[in-house]
């Protein structure tokens, strides 16, 4: 199989009933409910090779989670073709379900009143994992995520970060070949986020798993995904290497200078947008095309001790893509 996931002209519409405000509104929507069609996905197409780790990014309501749900068989597509590991997800064939996992940051499967180990045992039975393999992968996962001491504590008494790591174990015990991660680091602190990221990276490498990840956390995307798919309003705006996204949309360069003595800062404004001044350092943003000229001018007119020209940080570019500061043309 040369493609793990194939999505072709996928459309998904939702029917929602509009509820009006207030008592009169509630009454009128009870009598004649107004139906509205929300077009969550408008003909998206992409494919993913086995073992690839792809970041799926876009603002809230772009259609990321909807795509993941269609791919894991939770949603019935309005039209279009989807195939995961050779299966039609909606059939929810047990063989298919044993090969995939969907982890949603806001949904939990662990039994709230019992220690996590009980849910793991249950999943062992549900996924029919042989005892020996179960022990192996449990030990491995517990070590990697460092949760040994939480296994026998009631889930309700754990912190969010501890619980999320255990959720991940519950989702991975059956060693899925395809993993859908929806906001896996949501609500976690910086240290826990880093742990989670290391783990995802490692799991992808070690198990040759295909991973499709959505996140609002730029660090997740930048650190994990080589390829990204940018989606907004149900349409794919970009599909390619993260590097390419950056070079295509990095319209500016950043010039950092160290001044040897105080000088008229107002004059700097004429050369580029001053982002930060913290004497002796100053940071300027200039258009890519004129970066060299700007640097020359700076050296010429200012007492510059040191000067570097840098690329814009990836996070900044993606942020601009989201906020619409740079317009992304549709996929060619």
């Amino acid at each position: 199989m040369d493609k793990a996931i194939i999505v072709d002209h996928l459309i998904k519409n939702f029917e929602v009933t509009e509820k009006k405000q207030g008592v009169a509104g509630a009454f009128s929507s009870l009598i004649s409910p107004k139906k509205k069609t929300v077009r969550a996905l408008r003909e998206i197409s992409f494919s993913i090779k086995p073992g690839e780790l792809v970041g799926f990014i876009g603002p809230n309501g772009a259609g990321k989670t909807t795509t993941l749900k269609v791919l894991s068989g939770l949603l019935y597509p309005t039209s279009g073709f989807t195939q995961v590991l050779g299966f039609d997800p909606w059939d929810r064939n047990p063989k298919f379900l044993k090969e995939i996992s969907l982890v949603m940051g806001q949904k939990n499967q662990l039994w709230w009143d019992l220690p996590a180990i009980e849910t793991f045992e249950l999943n062992r039975a549900i996924y029919e994992i042989p005892e020996r393999i179960y022990k192996e992968s449990l030990n491995e996962l517990v070590d990697m995520l460092d949760v040994k001491k939480f296994l026998n504590i009631q889930v309700r008494r754990l912190s969010l970060g501890q619980r999320m790591r255990l959720e991940l174990i519950a989702a991975l015990l059956h060693k899925p070949k395809v993993l859908f991660l929806d906001e896996p680091t949501i609500g976690l602190d910086v240290v826990a986020q880093a742990k989670m990221r290391d783990f995802i990276y490692d799991y992808n490498k070690r198990c040759k798993a295909t991973i499709l990840l959505t996140s609002h956390n730029m660090d997740d995307v930048v650190n994990l995904a080589k390829r990204v798919i940018v989606i907004d309003k149900g349409k794919i705006l970009f599909d390619g290497e993260l590097r390419e996204l950056v070079s295509r949309y990095a319209k500016d360069k950043i010039i950092k200078i160290y001044l040897s003595k105080e000088s008229d800062i107002k004059q700097l404004e004429k050369i580029g947008k001053v982002k930060k001044i913290d004497f002796p350092q100053a940071v300027l943003v200039v258009p890519r095309a004129t970066a060299a000229a700007a640097a020359a001018e700076l050296l010429h007119h200012f007492p510059v001790a040191d000067l570097t020209i840098e690329e814009e940080p990836v996070e900044e570019i993606i942020r601009k893509v989201f906020s619409g500061e740079v317009k992304i043309s549709e996929k060619q």
Partner: protein, 267 residues
């Protein structure tokens, strides 16, 4: 099969996590039996009294029998289905290679096993306090028919409960109301859990026997008490079996439509 055995075990363990809840439920059951017991023993103060074909022994056996049957037929966990659908937790199950209906049936069986073991202990204690005289059925055929009727009742009640809970697919807020109406009102009063059905006027009885409710508690007990002729027993078993099959078919169909609806809303 092993799958469902594990579900049985974890479900059992979870019942114990809600100890207070469980104990209160048992206390409620004991109070209920005491209430009905004293009511009927007041009616039958004179051991010679016979009303509606019941004498003191038989009515008290009926009351204790209902107690056991409650644990067997009416104790259930499937009432949680509505909440799972409304909160979107159903998603977790849809992602797994597991049959949701069988999953809940297994959890129901586990709940019944736990309740039955407690009910047995309670009944022994109550027996020593109240010292009623029991009617013991000795005919093995009658006992066998009784057990068949109980199995039918268990499956039928499960089907009824699941069906009522599946209302949530279409009316997310409707789960509780329909559960209250069907389970609390109809089941309690029309199944014979509070009073034997045959004390009602015949016209009403005839209507009731066409419905599934009497076959949940009243009919199995009648078989145990040996109050029905063989023809009547087999005829009722047939009706109850048809209701059971009907429930199985209907819940599977409603389920198939329900998850499509569930997915259309996109919870």
């Amino acid at each position: 099969m092993k799958k469902y055995l594990s579900i049985f075990k974890i479900s059992f363990a979870q019942e114990f996590a809600y100890r207070v809840n469980f104990i209160m439920w048992r206390v409620r059951n004991v109070l209920q039996i005491l209430l009905v017991f004293f009511l009927w023993s007041a009616v039958f103060t004179n051991p010679q009294t016979e009303l509606f074909g019941y004498n003191r022994d038989k009515i008290l056996t009926y009351v204790f029998g209902i107690f056991i049957l409650r644990a067997l037929v009416l104790s259930s966990r499937a009432v949680d289905i509505a909440g799972e659908i409304a909160r979107g937790e159903l998603t977790n199950y849809l992602l797994k290679p597991i049959n949701y209906i069988k999953y809940w049936f297994t959890r129901d069986i586990s709940s019944k096993a736990l309740n039955l073991s407690f009910a047995t202990v309670e009944i022994v204690i109550l027996y020593f306090f109240l010292r009623p005289t029991f009617f013991i059925q000795t005919d093995p055929l009658q006992i066998f028919l009784f057990l068949v009727a109980v199995v039918f009742a268990v499956v039928m009640f499960f089907g009824l409960l699941v069906l009522v809970n599946f209302v949530t697919f279409w009316l997310p807020e409707g789960g509780w109301a329909s559960q209250f109406l069907i389970i609390v009102i109809f089941t309690e009063f029309l199944s014979g859990a509070v009073f034997p059905i045959d004390i009602l006027p015949e016209a009403i009885q005839n209507v009731l026997y066409a419905l599934p409710f009497p076959y949940l508690m009243f009919f199995p007990l009648q078989v145990y008490l040996g109050k029905l002729s063989m023809t009547a027993t087999l005829q009722s078993l047939l009706i109850s079996g048809i209701w059971m099959m009907f429930m199985i078919v209907v819940i599977n169909q409603v389920w198939a439509r329900g998850i499509k609806k569930y997915s259309a809303v996109g919870r």
